[in-house]
Each structure stands twice: as structure tokens, then as C-alpha cells.
């Protein structure tokens, strides 16, 4: 788990250029970013600003062209593929816009999969953890269902459970409510807020201000540059609409 004496995640001078296009496309331009322990960071920006690319770079899914990324003080850019995979398995969790579940496993097994993989000799502990998570997020009753038998909101809550199954240091969420209606979006954001409240560090990419208000801090990207950052304070349900107005006017100033 997290070492509270240093930032969970840090990147310095992060750039990313894709050579597959002609000419090559520079997507991130020298981003410096620090994510503190237990912080809920939201990344916003217009389409093509580099939000998802930033997420994939700091989670080790993509190799940055230059710059450094450290997780709990450990340089991720120096790791090979196997070592980085191990880091993603044991110290990170992912939630995607599309709930990418394996169709041939039931909900419970999908959630259990990374935990079993991380500690194959600790099956019982993993099962207990998963069952607890499922109860926590209100999906215990669908644990043996296939993914086609549950709603979008339930699937995303299952995604959150899966992301937390191996007790990660940081959770990454890429547009977690992008494919959901408003009530399901609220379900999912409530779940994420709950996760944050229990001390988990979160980094979320979103284009939805209603979701962004849940964060402690919002950063804004434009053309691969980190142009501004706004501290939001701790989210409460009652202050939600005030925070939203505040956020919207800030975003408006930035041209969102």
C-alpha cells in the first residue's frame, strides 16, 4: 500500500510522440505533474488534448518519448515489460469507459482475476476481498451472472471492484461514465467517491463537469500542455452544485 511520506505519482518533462503517423504526432509536450497520496485528480480537456495519452503514460501502458514517471519513488520508465506488468497488477487499478469484461467468465471471476493472478497462493484472501467489494458496491446479488445479464451501472461498479481487488496504490479511470445515462453515472461516481473517501488515490479522465466536481483537483490540458490546475477542496453532496458552477466558469475561461 501507499507510502504516505512521498507523492504517490510524479511525472517530469513528460512528452509523447506517435511515430505511426506521417508526420509524427506530438501529443504530450513536457508535462510536469504530481499526484499526492489519497488525492482525487481529474484530468480534463477538449478532444485530442492528450488526456487519455497522459493516463496511459503515467499508468505505464505506453512508453513516454521522454521524461520520467515515478510511482512511490520508483522510476517506471526504467522497468521492462514484465516488471511494469507486475506493477500494474499489484499497484494499479483500471476502469475503462467500456466495461471490458471477459465474456466467458462470470462477474465475480472477472473481478477475482487480477487478484488471483497477483497472489495465486492466497486464493481465500482474494475471494474474501472480492466478496467484500461486491457487497460494498451493491453487486453481490449478481456475482454469478454473465456480463450480458447486468446493467451498465452494475458493470461499471464491477469494474471498480475489479480495479480495487488487488489493493492498488492508485486507481486510473478513463471516462468511466462516458457510456452511461445520468442515473447510472451518479451510481458510478458515488462509488468512486466512496473509494476516494477510504483513502485510495484516483486519477480520472473525463469531459463531464458533473463528474469532475467530485475531484480534489482538476487539471486542464490543451494541445498536450498542462495549461492550468484548480484545487477544488473535498467534495460533499451538499456543495456539489456550487462546485459545479465554480468549475464551469473556470473551464469557460480556459475555452472549454
Amino acid at each position: 500500500m501507499s507510502n504516505t511520506s512521498q507523492p504517490t505519482l510524479q511525472c517530469q518533462g513528460l512528452t509523447k510522440t506517435f511515430s505511426s503517423t506521417d508526420p509524427p504526432t506530438r501529443v504530450l509536450n513536457g508535462i510536469d505533474l504530481t499526484v499526492q497520496n489519497g488525492e482525487f485528480l481529474v484530468v480534463m480537456g477538449a478532444s485530442g488534448s492528450g488526456k487519455s495519452t497522459l493516463l496511459y503514460c503515467i499508468s505505464g501502458m505506453d512508453r513516454p518519448t521522454s521524461g520520467t514517471i515515478t510511482l512511490q519513488g520508483r522510476d517506471l520508465t526504467a522497468l521492462n515489460d514484465t516488471e511494469m506488468s507486475r506493477v500494474r497488477l499489484t499497484q494499479m487499478g483500471f476502469i475503462f469507459q467500456q466495461s471490458y469484461f471477459l465474456q466467458n467468465l462470470n462477474i465475480r471471476d472477472n473481478i477475482l482475476l487480477p487478484a488471483l493472478k497477483a497472489a495465486p497462493d492466497a486464493t481465500n484472501a482474494a475471494v474474501d476481498r472480492v466478496d467484500t467489494l461486491m457487497k460494498r458496491f451493491g453487486i453481490a446479488e449478481v456475482n454469478h451472472h454473465g456480463m450480458t445479464e447486468v446493467s451498465g451501472g452494475q458493470l461499471q461498479r464491477a469494474s471498480i471492484s475489479r480495479a480495487l481487488a488487488s489493493e492498488p496504490d492508485v486507481l486510473f479511470a478513463d471516462e468511466p461514465t462516458g457510456a452511461l445515462n445520468s442515473s447510472m453515472s451518479t451510481e458510478v461516481m458515488d462509488a468512486l467517491s466512496d473509494v476516494h473517501a477510504s483513502g485510495t488515490t484516483l486519477v480520472m479522465v473525463t469531459h463531464d463537469p458533473a463528474c469532475a466536481t467530485r475531484g480534489d483537483r482538476v487539471i486542464y490540458l490543451r494541445d498536450g500542455h498542462l495549461v492550468d490546475s484548480r484545487s477544488m477542496g473535498t467534495w460533499t453532496k451538499t456543495a456539489d452544485s456550487v462546485r459545479k458552477d465554480d468549475l464551469l466558469s473556470w473551464l469557460h475561461e480556459l475555452g472549454f
Binding site: M61, D81, R88, L89, Q103, N106, D109, H145
Partner: protein, 801 residues
């Protein structure tokens, strides 16, 4: 205004250039099938044409009877004069010399050799006048001058002879020298299955060779008929006349044709067989690719339907690409086939004649290619009918080709399966378990792999099994002979009985030999439908169970065992009686058929009886086994040198030489099959994996995000591929050993060789170890190469669209 056909062409071009890898793989396999089909058909047409061309020039006899020893020419003349169906006839005198008695030398060089490596009879003859002509290289009819000789064209190739070489024939009075003036093609004895070959000399030289002694005189009585279909009737009439000479082989025109076309016909058949299997693989692959394409592009199809395009126009767009591929494959394959067919028929055109070009020369390959084209296009058309069933809403909203009901059914089925999983309960490596689960869920997708590998295994195994069967020393059991190490043949001569006694005494007294058994070849007759007919019987001691029987057992006293073809001819089974008598003897006895055996020698028409191996035989055969480490080759040479009247060879060599061209044809077919089989397995695996990795990109991306390394995901793909390929290979080998053996046996038995049931003599190291390993290795190479792309530095590409 852009026309529809222009749009169609443009679509086909764009699609072909966009998915180069997959389209190239499909095109290659279609080309291979077309190439093999066209080559096989052209080889068949050219071979038949070559044989026909030579037959037209050479005018082979419609019926011939070989004979050694005394005969009455007046009886023969009388026989012919009474038969108006005989257009002309002749008696060809021949002098046979052993290969070791003929040597050659190239003047002015130190190059020389002899024909001892050849086991067939070397017959010296003079050129005939009316028919059965030996034809020169330019289609001329050589009439050598004194001192000249024309050598069989097969020897030109086997021994690298040239015009101007000196041939020396060892006679009793010394050595006769002849100068090679050219090479001749022999319509009667061109086939490698023939047991003799002919050299043409002048009348003077023939007389001199006969007078010098050392050669075995023999005659062939030959007939040309006004109607060749009467050959069998003539044969019956001839054999029923006791006065006519007939202690040798009788052959009809039909048999000559079959034997001549046999080995090249085999090559053509093998090519067509390989092509057929490749076609099946190609069609399976096409079906897989097209169905996948329709599923992948279902949204685009939905849009086209939504804007009002009829389904046949939409299908037409996709079909256009496959039509172009099929056409291109057939054109390229056909072009390559012209070259290949030329190469493959070079030897038949040298040994026979250059086949003239005719209407069939062009029609046959065109028809073959048309069959390939139509098969490909009709399969594609059939699969693309699924476009009709695509519903707009389902396609656009859900991205599925299935209608609502089918979608719901599939989702229910998936959910039912998913509910049963329990990762916590089962143990073992997670990657392996995920791979097996994937295979269970997506069996319908993965079934292509075991199917292709099963077919590839059959493709490479069957020809090899045939080859090893015909090459095996145990194949003698298909030649009506016992398994043994040594064989000594004593052909008819004035003192063949004396020669037998000497050789037998020596062999029985030789410590290096054991199990010495002698058999006499006797001429009997049996009462067939049209009267008394010749029956060649091998008489000896069969009590030790020396020959393998397909039905019944070895003959005892008063019994006879028949070859398969004889049993079919006389419609007899084990236990039934047949009347027999010795030739020139009116005394008849009924013998009981004790058993039926397989025999490809002597036209497949032989019989065996228990009894002393003596008495008026046309020849003798002695078998013996070698003791300890003694070398059969050395022993054979020793006995051949000591007893020139006996042709002594190791049994293994006897089988090899008798069947050399058949085994050579099978060898070529086996090599071809292995190359194509492994190549196709590699190609289809690559095509399949490319498509699967594209379709599973999101799933792999999620697994990577969850913490599975590229190596582990690569392992999952490799595990699935190698498991399914392994199952396919196993199934293919089993199929080849069972259904394949039955099928090939049926084809071989229909060929009228004298084999009714073929059991493969398999080389287990090759078929059960090497070939499966090669196929699995091909699968491994393909999967390794394609999973390399998993090791990209940017894993998010697997998640992004």
C-alpha cells in the same frame, strides 16, 4: 455519374490493397490449388498424348506371347492363317544378356561402366518391318548397319550414354563390340514396370551374337489385329491351342497401355489429390475470412442497407474482390502449371514421344482452372448470403449480424456458460485456464485450425505411407513372395534343372544361409469361360507359412492358392474347387482353392500349389535367409558370379527395382505433398492469427491493463494455437491410417494391379514423429512471429479503436 461497376471495381481494388497480408495469403492458397489442379490435368493429358503418339508411330502389337525354347513355326503360321482378324503377325527373335555381361566405354576417355545395376533382361533384336517398331529420337525407324547398335532411351538416362560409345557384349567366344549410333523408344517395354528392354542391331550382328553363345534365346510371337478389342479373344484362342509356344508372359494391347500410363498417371493423380485437399483448405479459409469480414464490417453494411442499397449490390461489392482473387489465382496458377507440366512430363516425352498439341491440350487445363474458379466464387457467394440476413438496427446499434432473437439466444448461451465458471475452485496457471476457457467459448472460431492441420496431416502422410509401403522389403507379401533376404531366379534354358541342382546344393551347404526354399514355375491350364486357359503356378513347399494370405491359407496337397486377380477372373473363393491340368496333358484334376493372396507381379495372375519343385518347369525361384551379420549384397554378388545362369539379388533390391518408377513417382508426390502441406499450414495459421489478434485486440488490451504481460498474453495465444493444431495433427494421422488407408486401398485395388487390400507399412519415425513435429513447428513459427507484435512499447493501441 459514376456507374455501379466502376464503384465495384474501385471497391475491390481499394480492399485488395488495404488488407495486403490477408489477401496475399488467400491469393497464394488459391493460386497453389489452381496450379496443382492445372498441372495434374496437364500431366495426365500430356502423358496420355505421349503414349498415344508413340503408339501411333511404333504400332505395338495387340497381343503378344513370349516363349523360350523350341517351337514349331508352321503351327504358328497355321494359327494365323485361320484367323481373318489378324492383320499381320511376326515372330521376333531375341537374345537376352545379363546386365553384367554388357559393358560400355567412351573412346578417348577413361569413362566406362556396365549394366550390372540393371535387373531387367537386356534383349538384342533386329528392327521389325511392319509393326512393333523401335523408334529413334527424331521419330525415325533406325535400321543399324553392321557394328552399330541402338540402345534403349532409358539406358541413355540411367547410364549417361552418348552416341559413339562402345558397347561390349561378353559372349562364350569372347567380346562383341558395337558402336552406339542412337537411342530408341520402345512402345512395348518403355514402362519401368517392364521386366525387359530391347537393343536394336543389324541382322548380321544378331546372327553373330547368336552363334557366339552366352545369350538366352527367346521369342515374342506378336499380332496386330483389324480390331484391337478382339485381343482378349485371340489370347484365349491362343492359350487353348496346346501346340502353340507359350511358356512365357502373354500381354494384350490394353495391358501395355495401362502399364505405360501407370507411373505418370500416378504422378497426375497425386497432383490432383494434393490440389483437392488444398482446395478444401482454401475454401474453409475463405469462408472463415468472409464471415469475419461481414461481422467486422457489419456497421458499414448496416449503413449501406439503411441508405437503400439492395443486399445483392452489397454482396456484389465484397464478391468482386474474391472474383478478382480467384481469377488472378487461376491465371497465375495456370501459367506456372504450364512450366511445371513441361518439367514433369519431360521424361515421359523422352521415353515415349512428344505429345502433339490439340484441342484437348488447351481445353483440359482450362476446364480444371474453371472448376477451381467456380468453386471459389460459389463458396464466397454462399457465405455472402448472410448479408441478406443483417438487420439495420442490429447492425448500427448493436454491431451484430444476428437478428434480435438470435442475439438474445447467443447472449443467454454465453451467460449460461459464464455462470458455471469458478476461478477460485480450480487450480493451475491462470493463463492456461483462460486459454482453455477461450477455446471452449470460441470453439466455432478456432475449429478452422484443427481442420486445416488435420487436412495438412493427411496431405503429407498419405503419399509417404504409400511410398514406405511400396519401398518396404515387406512389400514382397504383395508380390506373392515370402519375406526373405535373398532371391535367385533361374529362367528357362536347356539345362535349367541342372543349374537348379547346383545352386541349391551350394546354398543348402552354405553356413551363411538358412531357410533355403525352392519353387518351380510350371504351366498349367484351367477351364475358363471360353475354354482351357493358361495358369502360371508356382509349385513348392508352403507348409512353413511363407506367403501372406488375404483370405484362407497356404495350399496343402490337392489344393491351390490363387492371386487376387485370378480369383476375380475365375470368380472363386477359398473352399471352392477348380479344374486344372498340366499343359499338353489331357488328365484333369479338381483342386480346392485354399486361399487368396496378393501379387502385383506377372500381371497379377499367378497361383501356388504344394508339391515338389521339379518337373518340366519354365523357371525356378530360390529364396533364402541370411544368417548373422552376412551381407546379402555380397552373397548375391558371389552367387551371381559363380552361377551366371542364376540371377541372384538381395530381396530388398528386387522389390526396389521392380517398383522403382512407382516408388519414384510416390517419392515425388510425397515431397510435393510435404512442401505444400507445411507451407499451407504456415500460411493459414498466419492468416488465422492475424485475424484473431485483430478481433481480440480490446480483450488483450484489457488483460495488459490488468497486469498481464505481453509474454503471458503471447503464451495464451500460443497455447491455444498449438493445442488446436496438435489435436488436428493427431486427428489427421488417425484419418490417414484408417479412412485414408481404406480410400487408397480402394483406388489401388481398382487399378487392377492385383492388390485387393492394402495395409500401409508405415515408417513410424517419419509419420508419427517427424511429420507431426514439422507441422507443430510450422504452427509455432507462425504464432511466434505474429505474437511479436504484442511486444509493442505502447499497449494502449490494443484498447483504442
Amino acid at each position: 455519374m459514376i456507374r455501379q461497376d466502376t464503384l465495384t471495381r474501385r471497391y475491390a481494388y481499394n480492399d485488395l490493397t488495404k488488407n495486403k497480408g490477408i489477401n496475399a495469403a488467400l491469393l497464394l492458397i488459391i493460386t497453389m490449388s489452381a496450379f496443382l489442379m492445372a498441372t495434374g490435368s496437364m500431366v495426365m493429358e500430356r502423358s496420355v498424348g505421349s503414349v498415344d503418339a508413340l503408339f501411333e508411330q511404333a504400332k505395338p502389337p495387340h497381343f503378344l506371347q513370349m516363349h523360350k525354347g523350341d517351337y514349331d513355326p508352321e503351327v504358328l503360321a497355321d494359327f494365323a492363317s485361320q484367323r481373318p482378324e489378324i492383320a499381320s503377325w511376326l515372330i521376333e527373335d531375341m537374345l537376352g544378356f545379363d546386365g553384367a555381361a554388357i559393358s560400355w566405354q567412351r573412346p578417348g576417355t577413361d569413362q566406362s561402366g556396365d549394366f550390372s545395376a540393371s535387373l531387367i533382361d537386356n534383349l538384342f533384336v533386329t528392327q521389325n518391318e511392319d509393326f512393333d517398331l523401335l523408334i529413334g529420337a527424331d521419330g525415325d525407324i533406325p535400321r543399324p548397319s553392321q557394328g552399330d547398335v541402338y540402345v534403349p532411351v532409358g539406358y541413355q538416362q540411367d547410364f549417361d550414354l552418348e552416341v559413339g560409345d562402345e558397347l561390349q557384349v561378353r559372349t562364350d567366344e569372347g567380346t562383341s563390340s558395337l558402336t552406339v549410333q542412337g537411342f530408341v523408344r520402345d512402345s512395348q517395354m518403355a514402362s519401368s514396370l517392364s521386366s525387359a528392354t530391347r537393343f536394336v542391331v543389324s541382322n548380321e550382328d544378331f546372327r553373330d551374337l547368336a552363334a557366339a553363345g552366352g545369350g538366352n534365346p527367346e521369342i515374342i510371337v506378336e499380332y496386330r489385329l483389324t480390331d484391337s478389342s478382339q485381343a482378349s479373344q485371340l489370347q484365349r484362342d491362343y492359350e487353348s491351342d496346346v501346340a502353340l509356344p507359350k511358356n512365357g508372359q502373354a500381354v494384350t494391347y490394353q495391358m501395355i497401355r495401362v502399364i505405360n500410363a501407370f507411373s505418370d498417371g500416378l504422378v497426375a493423380l497425386a497432383l490432383v489429390f494434393v490440389s483437392g485437399l488444398l482446395m478444401i483448405i482454401a475454401l474453409l479459409s475463405l469462408r472463415f475470412v468472409i464471415r469475419g469480414t461481414v461481422e467486422d464490417e457489419v456497421r458499414e453494411i448496416g449503413v449501406m442497407k439503411a441508405i437503400g442499397l439492395p443486399h445483392r449490390v452489397i454482396s456484389g461489392l465484397y464478391l468482386s474482390k474474391y472474383r478478382v482473387m480467384a481469377l488472378l489465382g487461376c491465371v497465375v496458377g495456370g501459367g506456372l502449371a504450364i512450366v511445371a507440366a513441361q518439367l514433369l512430363t519431360r521424361s515421359v516425352q523422352v521415353n515415349y514421344a512428344v505429345a502433339p498439341m490439340g484441342f484437348l491440350t488447351f481445353l483440359v487445363p482450362v476446364v480444371a482452372l474453371l472448376v477451381v474458379y467456380l468453386l471459389v466464387v460459389s463458396i464466397c457467394r454462399g457465405v455472402l448470403r448472410s448479408v441478406r440476413r443483417v438487420e439495420v438496427v442490429g447492425a448500427l446499434v448493436h454491431g451484430t449480424t444476428l437478428d434480435e432473437k438470435k442475439s438474445a439466444r447467443r447472449a443467454k448461451k454465453l451467460a449460461r456458460r459464464a455462470r458455471k465458471t469458478n476461478l477460485a475452485a480450480s487450480g493451475g496457471d491462470v493463463n492456461r485456464r483462460l486459454a482453455i476457457l477461450d477455446l471452449k467459448t470460441e470453439a466455432g472460431q478456432w475449429v478452422l485450425v484443427p481442420l486445416v492441420f488435420a487436412l495438412a496431416a493427411v496431405l503429407i502422410t498419405l503419399p509417404t505411407n504409400l511410398l514406405t509401403t511400396f519401398q518396404s522389403p515387406r512389400f514382397v507379401t504383395y508380390m506373392g513372395a515370402p519375406e526373405s533376404d535373398l532371391r535367385a531366379d533361374l529362367q528357362f534354358s536347356t539345362d535349367v534343372d541342372g543349374a537348379l541342382e547346383e545352386v541349391l546344393r551350394r546354398m543348402e551347404g552354405d553356413d551363411r544361409l538358412t531357410e533355403v526354399r525352392d519353387f518351380a514355375n510350371l504351366l498349367f491350364e484351367t477351364n475358363g469361360e471360353e475354354g482351357w486357359e493358361n495358369l502360371r503356378v508356382e509349385m513348392g513347399d508352403y507348409s512353413t507359412g511363407t506367403v501372406a494370405f488375404v483370405e484362407g491359407q497356404a495350399p496343402g496337397e490337392g489344393e491351390i492358392a490363387l492371386s487376387v486377380l485370378n480369383a476375380q477372373q475365375y470368380d472363386l473363393e477359398a473352399g471352392e474347387a477348380m479344374p486344372i491340368r498340366r499343359s499338353n496333358d489331357a488328365m484333369t484334376e479338381d483342386v480346392v482353392v485354399s486361399g487368396i493372396y496378393q501379387d502385383v507381379t506377372s500381371g497379377g495372375l499367378t497361383a501356388k500349389m504344394q508339391g515338389p519343385a521339379t518337373g518340366d518347369a519354365v523357371g525356378y525361384v530360390i529364396y533364402a535367409d541370411v544368417v548373422g551379420d552376412s551381407d546379402p549384397t555380397v552373397l548375391a554378388q558371389e552367387y551371381s558370379d559363380e552361377y551366371p545362369a542364376a540371377s541372384v539379388i538381395p530381396m530388398e533390391e528386387y522389390v526396389q527395382q521392380t517398383l522403382s518408377y512407382i516408388t519414384s513417382a510416390f517419392f515425388n508426390a510425397a515431397v510435393l505433398a510435404v512442401i505444400f502441406g507445411i507451407g499451407v499450414a504456415l500460411l493459414i495459421t498466419s492468416l488465422f492469427l492475424k485475424l484473431r489478434l485483430t478481433r481480440e485486440r480490446n480483450k488483450m488490451g484489457v488483460l495488459m491493463a490488468l497486469g498481464f504481460s505481453a509474454r503471458e498474453i503471447g503464451f495464451q495465444v500460443r497455447f491455444k494455437l498449438l493445442l488446436t493444431a496438435g489435436v488436428g495433427v493427431l486427428a489427421g494421422i488417425l484419418m490417414a491410417a484408417t479412412a485414408g488407408q481404406w480410400f487408397v486401398g480402394a483406388v489401388v485395388s481398382l487399378a487392377g494391379l492385383g492388390i485387393s487390400s492394402l495395409n500401409f507399412i508405415v515408417n513410424p519415425w517419419v509419420v508419427y514423429l517427424a511429420y507431426p513435429l514439422m507441422l507443430i513447428a510450422a504452427a509455432y513459427v507462425a504464432v511466434r512471429a505474429l505474437t511479436l507484435r504484442l511486444h509493442t512499447p505502447d499497449k494502449s493501441i490494443w484498447l483504442r479503436k
